[in-house]
């Protein structure tokens, strides 16, 4: 027993233990596991990016940077976002963060007052709810369903609204479902947001990973830029998870508030990562496209194989996840994942980890080589059908 006993923050105690963590402990004790449970690219960061980092180190780039990030990087980010019809001033509307993760935390802390309600469509990426709670908000989850391709509908959003609803967190393309939100779906959400003066935190970290459709940012819709914080980062599209570089773009008043928190808590994002991100944004398009092409091929393979082995699966149009319906197995998502791991040594993530409406589904990441995927599906076939 330490002196901290009974003295921990009640906010922290309120956080549920991570469902992913438990599963990780189980899987990491086993040999010969094929993992479809990983939420990061299987590619190593392209060599030109790594090489640019060595060069930056050789020239002595080992210092702090401006709080908001290297000016050249902020400019590159602003320029890059123009491809999604977004226009931000690199001087005071762009903030470089330690991963999209930090940007989510900053965005919430910058706007939440105690008792404010944050609306989170689920199944959702696991960090939104804890970050909202730590910021002092209460969380209201909005269920989404396979029959709607896991899209947030206008009706569901309206039904969830209360007087205290302040912020809506959107994540499209979505982790864990692979769902996207097209312009029509976004327009409906935008009209509710405008009518009810909702702020939107739009996590677009998978924006580059869409298949057959182009990503649309809700901030590019009329009347939305002024009420939206866009969050993105280098982790997914450029296979740069370990570099810890993300960013937020937003109207200058809220961005200034985020910079204020960031400057006292983080000071700045690491300069090596920022130099690497700059190289990736300037010269990384060809390699990025090659990775997207591979994800797309694997996606088709995964959806086809899931259906062949008897699992219904909506077609994921973004990110690198398929989210099949496993109810036909008669098992809960947790039991399915656990038994699949123990019997056939394939790791998938139980859908319930991402929220109650994820129950009955599991997340299969296809950020894994085609050869591994082939083997994984042989095992899953055996698990289900023999």
């Amino acid at each position: 027993m330490s002196a901290f006993e009974g003295k921990l923050s009640p906010l922290v105690e309120q956080l549920a233990p991570s469902g992913i963590r438990r599963f990780f402990d189980l899987a990491s004790q086993m040999d010969d596991v094929i993992s479809l449970g990983v939420g990061e690219p299987d590619f190593v960061t392209p060599w030109h990016v790594r090489e640019a980092c060595f060069y930056a180190l050789e020239r002595g780039y080992t210092t702090y940077t401006a709080n908001a990030g290297l000016p050249a990087l902020r400019e590159a980010i602003a320029q890059y976002l123009e491809t999604f019809d977004l226009s931000y001033d690199p001087k005071d509307e762009v903030l470089v963060t330690v991963g999209g993760s930090e940007a989510i935390d900053l965005a919430l802390r910058a706007v939440i007052q105690p008792g404010d309600e944050v609306l989170i469509p689920e199944p959702a990426y696991v960090s939104y709810e804890p970050c909202a709670i730590l910021a002092g908000a209460t969380v209201k989850k909005i269920a989404t369903h396979a029959m709607d391709q896991f899209r947030l509908t206008e009706d569901a959003l309206r039904a969830a609204l209360t007087k205290r609803s302040k912020v809506l967190i959107l994540c499209a393309p979505n982790n864990p479902t692979g769902a996207i939100l097209d312009r029509a779906a976004l327009a409906q959400i935008a009209s509710v947001a405008i009518a009810h003066d909702l702020l939107v935190i739009s996590d677009e970290i998978y924006a580059e990973l869409t298949y057959g459709v182009r990503h649309v940012s809700i901030a590019s819709l009329p009347g939305m830029k002024e009420r939206t914080i866009v969050i993105s980062g280098m982790s997914k599209a450029y296979a740069m998870t370990g570099w810890r570089i993300g960013y937020a773009t937003a109207p200058r008043d809220v961005l200034a508030a985020m910079v204020k928190i960031h400057q006292y808590t983080m000071l700045c994002a690491p300069i090596m990562g920022q130099m690497a991100a700059l190289e990736a944004l300037r010269n990384g398009e060809r390699e990025r496209q090659a990775m997207v092409e591979q994800y797309d091929q694997r996606r088709r393979f995964v959806v086809k194989r899931l259906r062949e082995i008897g699992l219904a699966c909506h077609e994921p149009q973004g990110a690198f996840y398929a989210f099949p319906d496993i109810r036909a197995s008669g098992l809960s998502s947790e039991a399915f994942a656990e038994q699949l791991l123990k019997v056939e040594r394939v790791a998938v993530v139980p859908g319930a980890v991402f929220g109650p409406s994820g129950e009955g589904f599991v997340r299969c990441s296809y950020a894994t080589s085609l050869a591994q995927l082939e083997r994984a599906f042989e095992r899953m076939d055996r698990f289900l059908n023999s």
Binding site: S35, G37, V38, V44, R300, F301, A347
Partner: protein
């Protein structure tokens, strides 16, 4: 099949010629019959000339030697370099011949079981061909990467087994 997909098909086969027609169809979002037809057509028109494995010969015992030879030639009226190239590439020792821009004209790759074989081939066969004005022979010591494939032993998985 449209031309973009045909090119993708060739890239996929180049990467792994053992993909089944069904797998290729899935990866390309096509019907297997379409894939079969496109492959047949590519074979027919000699766009696809054969299928081979990528072998790291350095790991194979008793494998011979390879030399890259820069050859300078005087091009001939009417036929340019082609006639000389043809005389060279017909030797079974020659693995590849390419016309190059720059300091020399033909790049010839030769394989033999011993250094001596290659040396003899160059001095007795290659150098004596009419219109060949000079050769420079480089013996290949180690292959690091060929045809887009890195020959080093595989890097191990560094990611955690399960991550959000």
């Amino acid at each position: 099949m449209d031309s973009e997909k045909r090119i993708k098909l060739l890239h996929l086969l180049h990467e792994n010629a053992k993909y089944t027609d069904e797998m290729l169809a899935t990866l390309l979002d096509e019907e297997p019959a379409e894939v079969r037809a496109a492959i047949a057509e590519a074979e027919q028109s000699r766009v696809i000339l054969g299928y081979s494995a990528i072998v790291n010969w350095d790991k194979v015992e008793g494998n011979g030697v390879t030399a890259v030879i820069d050859v300078r030639v005087t091009p001939q009226r009417e036929v340019g370099f082609d006639a000389i190239a043809r005389r060279i590439y017909r030797f079974s020792e020659v693995k590849s011949v390419a016309l190059m821009s720059g300091a020399y004209d033909l790049q010839v790759v030769v394989e033999g079981s011993h250094l001596r074989d290659v040396a003899t081939f160059v001095s007795e066969r290659l150098a004596t061909i009419e219109h060949v004005t000079g050769t420079a022979t480089h013996f290949l010591l180690k292959t690091y990467k060929a045809d887009g494939v890195i020959f080093d032993d595989r890097e191990d998985e560094k990611r955690l087994v399960v991550a959000p």
